[in-house]
């Protein structure tokens, strides 16, 4: 039983990271119906940037005083988010915007090309080997304070939640309550009518990419703090996990992406623990295929305008 609970906790942490990336897929798909294939690789770039900032710029270590540590981590998150958001907007401008009226598969193919470009840029800069840092967050079991030792929750895992949840709340507020968020929803529903109503469609789409990119950057930082490792092709597998999450929850649906990510996090953790990590990828893809074939609208249903 303890083992199952432990697996659930690991799955929850996985799922929360997936959620940040899955939101990027679902936002973009919701608004321009593009599977942004390069998004997983943007997450990978985010983790590379975070690793560079932590190890080379800020020299974070276990010896850094806690207050300073928290401040610097927040700064690193902010910086990484800005950088990945900028990269994502640039990609949209170069690779997707010119293809907005092309046949639907053209931007998807362009995105696949972009994915390989990002991977190889990382390979060029960081080399083919895994890049890792020493863990500098305390690894003590937080639950031992209340007398539970058979199940462990580490500070890293709490940290994943501490970064992810506020971002999810902020995103929900932004899309649901602000003027810009309303413009995004309008554009997703019908870009032409939205344009006629005075929404700057290009700007709104760029904003969507900005938000998705920023979330991928935050996920990259969390990946480094939680798993302490990244590699140039991390984004492919991770991105497909996140995309599967988005599809599982109902693509275009923000809360769906989070629910899907949490479910997929559990699937990953249980497959890793009870089957074999070798099979996890195949299982994730199996889930993806089954969902697409039998319930393409996902758990919570698609929130897409019905455009053929």
């Amino acid at each position: 039983m303890d083992q199952v609970i432990q697996t659930v906790i690991i799955g929850l942490s996985n799922g929360l990271i997936f959620a940040l990336v899955a939101l990027g897929y679902t936002l973009v798909y919701g608004i321009i119906e593009l599977i942004n294939f390069a998004h997983g690789d943007l997450f990978m770039l985010g983790s590379m940037v975070a690793l560079f900032l932590i190890a080379t710029v800020f020299h974070l270590s276990a010896a850094t005083p806690p207050i300073l540590l928290i401040g610097e981590i927040l700064l690193i998150i902010a910086l990484t988010m800005v950088i990945t958001a900028a990269i994502n907007i640039t990609i949209e401008r170069i690779a997707y915007r010119p293809l907005r009226h092309a046949p639907k598969l053209a931007p998807l193919i362009s995105a696949i090309g972009m994915s390989f470009v990002l991977q190889n840029v990382a390979l060029l800069i960081a080399g083919p080997a895994n890049k890792s840092i020493d863990n500098f967050l305390p690894t003590t079991n937080l639950l031992s304070a209340v007398g539970i030792t058979s199940v462990s929750v580490t500070l890293q895992q709490v940290f994943v939640g501490m970064v992810t949840l506020p971002l999810l709340v902020a995103l929900t507020w932004f899309v649901g309550k602000t003027r810009q968020g309303r413009a995004m929803r309008a554009t997703a529903q019908d870009p032409d009518t939205a344009g006629l109503m005075g929404v700057d469609v290009n700007r709104t789409i760029a904003l969507t990419f900005l938000i998705g990119g920023a979330l991928a950057g935050a996920a990259g930082v969390v990946q480094i703090l939680y798993n302490n490792v990244t590699v140039w092709n991390l984004g492919f597998r991770f991105g497909l996990n996140a995309f599967t999450s988005a599809v599982l929850g109902g693509i275009g649906n923000l809360s769906g992406a989070v629910v899907g990510a949490l479910v997929l996090g559990q699937i990953n953790a249980f497959s890793d623990r009870y089957l074999s990590a070798n099979w996890t990828n195949a299982i994730v893809f199996g889930v993806l295929i089954l969902v697409l074939v039998f319930k393409p609208t996902g758990i919570l249903g698609q929130q897409l305008a019905d455009r053929a």
Binding site: L99, H101, A102, L108, L124, F285, L292, V293
Partner: protein, 462 residues
Amino acid sequence: MTGATESPKYGTGLTGWAAHVGEVLSGLPAAYRRELGSNRRRAIVLTILAILAVTYPILNRFFLQGFSRNVFPLPLPDDTVVTFMMIFGIMAIGLNIVAGFAGLLDLGYVAFYALGAYTAAFLASPHFGSVSFVVLANVANGFPGIHLPFWIIVPLAVLVAGTFGALLGAPTLRLRGDYLAIVTLGFGEIVPVVFRNMADVTFNIGLGPISIVADHLNLTGGPLGINPIDAPFLPFLNIRFNASAGFAPVYLGMLLLVVGILVARNLERSRIGRAWMAIREDELAAEMMGVNTLRTKLLAFALGASFAGVAGSLQSSYLGATTSDFFQFSTSILVLIMVILGGIGNIWGVLLGAIALTYVDKTFLPYLGQQIQAIAPSFPNPAQFNFLFFGLTLVVMMRFRPEGFLPNRQRAAELTVHGLIAAEIARGEEVGVDNLGMAPPGQDEVAGDARAAETVDESEKE
């Protein structure tokens, strides 16, 4: 599925398909004559190209290597590279059936390549050492393992890959284009994972009196894969077409490629080919005209997959080994780039794409790498970053020349003008003037839209 509108000659279902494919196959000689005889200029160009292709390996061996070292600035591809040009040529032509003719984006094409390779590995190697089954192969009777000749393995690989293509396609071809792409991608990832992980299989299936038991059976060789695999062998001439056989395998590849070209060419011009085109342009309209869209798409999927099966069985028999590492997503994309670069929908274009990209990947970039390493050893070797160039190629091609360098005229029109109009109409927009500047006049399919555009044009002028 009404026989009257669908296919008057053959029944529906598998036998109908088989009959149709049989007809295509029996039409090959005629296709060959037509290919040469359709017009004089084309016949001359094709003949010259064919002579060049046939003589190249021999010239290369005895003459051109020295020439390329001393006179020509770039290295010429060697026998291995040319063999891979043939293998990728077969794959590109197969993917072109799926993506070019029928307009379905298959991102997991490598799965069928893997299935072909492992078919050869299972049926012509000492891998299943506990049995001995030697039929017509260049192996002594009683030698451990299953050994079938390559000439039987190729049709079997066609069958295996085609069957899996149909199995994957049957539930998924209803999906929208981008979802289908992702599903095929998933399939392309699952197949190598299965081959990698099935090295230690234990099961006990009881079916009444029959019980199938496996106790730690090494089914697929795991991460190490399977080797050695028997080389294709030509009995009377005693030629083994393996990597150490010089240019012999080039001719084997060329033979299979030519058959592939003729089959694809024949399919393109058949009733099925026209149905594919109709579906690609407008699925709904095609269905209204009596095309059984699901069956036709399924046929494209299965036939395209069977080409990769042939390529896979050739590759593993030629190399004498196979592992799941050969079959990665990047290979699917490499073949896709060949198709897009050369000209999606045009067999000669995708063939050119396959030859050019194989050359760049296996000869030019390594050569460039050597040159750079000689001058600046710390500079990154471009051969390791081949997908940086290929990725950029995809982005640039989509942006500036989606129809490829040797475009299929009809496909090019769809990608530029038809596609634009379709997109606009699907989005419920009025068809804008600027978008129609390139509309070719007098084409039936666009006539209605063109009239609409003219109206807009005039009203804007006023």
